[in-house]
Amino acid sequence: MLEQLLPQLVNGLTLGVIYALIAVGYTMVYGVIELINFAHGEVYMFGAFLCVTFITAVGMPFYLAIVAAMGCCALIGMFLDLVAYKPLRKAPRLAALITAIGMSIFLQNLAMVIWGSRPLPFVQSAVPAYLNETALSFSGVYLTWLQLFIFAVTTAMMLGLMFIITRTRIGTAMRALAQNKTAAALMGINVNFVIAFTFALGSAMGAVAGILVSVYYNSLYPTMGYVAGVKAFAAAVLGGIGSVPGAMLGGIVLGVAEALGAGYVSSLYRDGVAYAVMIAVIIFRPSGLLGKAVIDKA
């Protein structure tokens, strides 16, 4: 049993990093406007499809297509905010949640109409060949360059994001907004611009996640966003929703719990183990792993 442990941990880590990438988009939007953007999973899916379309239809090289897809998804994110959420800023929170669900249904079916419902393989010819070669292999673990690439990209993006949030003007504005929207507006922060920027940033990261996942699994399909989105949402909450490092940690914990659950408990209860771990963590740490405790002041 023990010889499985290392490979399973690697499996879980890869999966977890992917969850983390998607979860960051959730957590950023949540941190700023307290909205669970359920359409985020769909942006992730659009990222993958757009990237493939840019490669096949426009003939862009792989890395350029990634950047272009990121740009398009950033626009989609801002568009989502503009048409769906901005009009509801003053409405009850759940209204925006329902809109998010509606948008998610809409985008998923839009993709189905545009690209068809059958899964597509990623354009392997466009992917640099070395990515699929084994980079490391030791004691039953096989790591491809692609996996290392995913780890590297995720880490780099997390660090970049942390930099933006903590060291830049717009990041400061985002944090201010998360604290108190009214006060931030009074301090001369353009609230709508900052929110749009948050959506754009989160969506671009979602797009990268979508592309990496579809390259890694060599498959993309219109419903891929739903399950990934739900898992990433769980990861974001597990880590403490609103916290970027929390999303990263939550994703990895969830991924590892899933892999170990499948490996050591039962593959039938693979998701069950992940959810059980999540519930247990939240019961014992009611604001997630890295979330700030909410003190209800009198």
Partner: protein
């Protein structure tokens, strides 16, 4: 204003539901399958087959002079939605028969309504064993037929094939946790044990999660020399390529759920050497099938899969029944139930179809293997 809104919405709903669309003299059949949602890709296969058949018939003058109209009913592979669709079909007296449903659970959910209202249905894809017991009304009449073999037949067949032709000794099973995957797996494992095959591991996966490495890592640890993938090609392709990545490079075989060119497209090299059972083998089919194959490729720019072929035949059987028995539900049922010997069977692209007393088809299974990115006939089981 509030009052106006509610009233308008309520009225719109009621009016729209009560309205009966009037059409010119046509024969109407329904095709209930998944056209949106996660199973839409499979539904698309069914739709392609049925469309082709109906267009052919209509081009040739229709059924008894009437043009055939297909009502596409989106039942999402969802039992509840299926039951609603079934009620819609049952209620529209002009619909004389159904091709569908796609998934076994959806078909099972629709059956009580079909039995009560007396609607004949032919499913090209629902392979679950339970359907055989649930498709008779109170008088014992069978209303639901299928031109696809059952999971238990196929599972047993594969176990025998693995033992006798492939010659594996230790097999692992990786199945999708749904009606299809479990039905097939249970039959396979039961027969394998009877034949003395060593089943060294059983793992499950659920649709939707794209990552299968934890289960595969576990299966790898049990060192099988063959792995049976009991599920569909979408996930199967991911499994094949991930198995290759983690170094689990053993013989793979799957059932009809793998019979789609997308499997090779998605899995690439990893699909090489996969054995697949199928009710439909182009080389074994007659000359009329070759025309279908060519037409299909020309129309949809992809190769025929068993779902399309079965759907094409299911529509063909239903339309033949309408032509022979008239556009009447009960008479169609009677005609279909009468197709109970090979002589009275239907010669379609997927071979000869006739029904036993449970409405199940007795069809041979063929085996294909993936070689150089093509599916080619493999050695058949005698």
């Amino acid at each position: 204003m509030k009052f106006g809104w509610c009233k308008a919405v309520l009225l719109a709903c009621v009016v729209a539901l009560m309205s009966v669309p009037a059409h010119a003299k046509t024969v109407k059949i329904a095709c209930a399958s998944a056209f949106s949602g996660p199973a839409a890709a499979y539904g698309d296969n069914v739709k392609a087959g049925v469309t082709l058949k109906v267009e052919e018939i209509n081009a040739a003058g229709g059924v008894g002079g009437a043009q055939v109209e297909v009502l596409w009913m989106d039942s999402l592979c969802d039992p509840k939605e299926s039951n609603t669709v079934a009620a819609k079909i049952a209620r529209d007296e002009e619909i004389v028969g159904v091709v569908g449903h796609l998934c076994s659970s959806a078909h099972l959910a629709a059956l009580p309504t079909y039995l009560r209202a007396g609607v004949p249905a032919i499913t090209p894809t629902a392979t679950n064993v339970a359907i055989s017991d649930q498709n008779k009304d109170r008088k014992g009449l069978v209303w639901s037929f299928r031109d696809v073999y059952r999971d238990d037949f196929q599972g047993k067949f594969l176990a025998r094939y693995a033992k006798e032709v492939l010659g594996v000794a230790k097999v692992a099973v990786f199945y999708e946790n749904n009606d299809y995957g479990i039905g097939l797996k249970d039959a396979f494992v039961g027969e394998a044990k009877r034949l003395g095959l060593d089943v060294v591991g059983e793992e499950a996966y659920v649709k939707g999660t794209p990552d299968f490495t934890p289960q595969l890592t576990k299966l790898k640890a049990s060192a099988p020399d063959g792995i049976f993938l009991s599920g569909y090609y979408n996930e199967g392709a991911l499994i094949a390529s991930q198995a290759k990545k983690i170094g689990l490079d053993v013989l793979k075989f799957g059932a009809d759920g793998f019979d789609n060119m997308d499997y090779i497209k998605l899995a690439g090299d990893a699909s090489e050497g996969t054995y697949i059972t199928t009710p439909f083998l182009a080389s074994e089919a007659g000359p009329e099938a070759q025309k279908f194959l060519a037409d299909f490729k020309a129309r949809y720019n992809r190769d025929v899969d068993y779902m399309s072929a079965n759907a094409y035949d299911a529509a063909g059987i239903l339309l033949q029944a309408i032509e022979k028995a008239g556009a009447d539900r009960a008479k169609i049922r009677e005609y279909l139930a009468g197709m109970n010997t090979p002589e009275k069977g239907y010669h379609g692209v997927s071979g000869l179809t006739y029904f036993d007393e449970h409405g199940d088809a007795q069809k041979p299974a063929f085996v294909k293997v993936v070689k150089n990115g093509e599916m080619v006939p493999a050695q058949q089981l005698k």
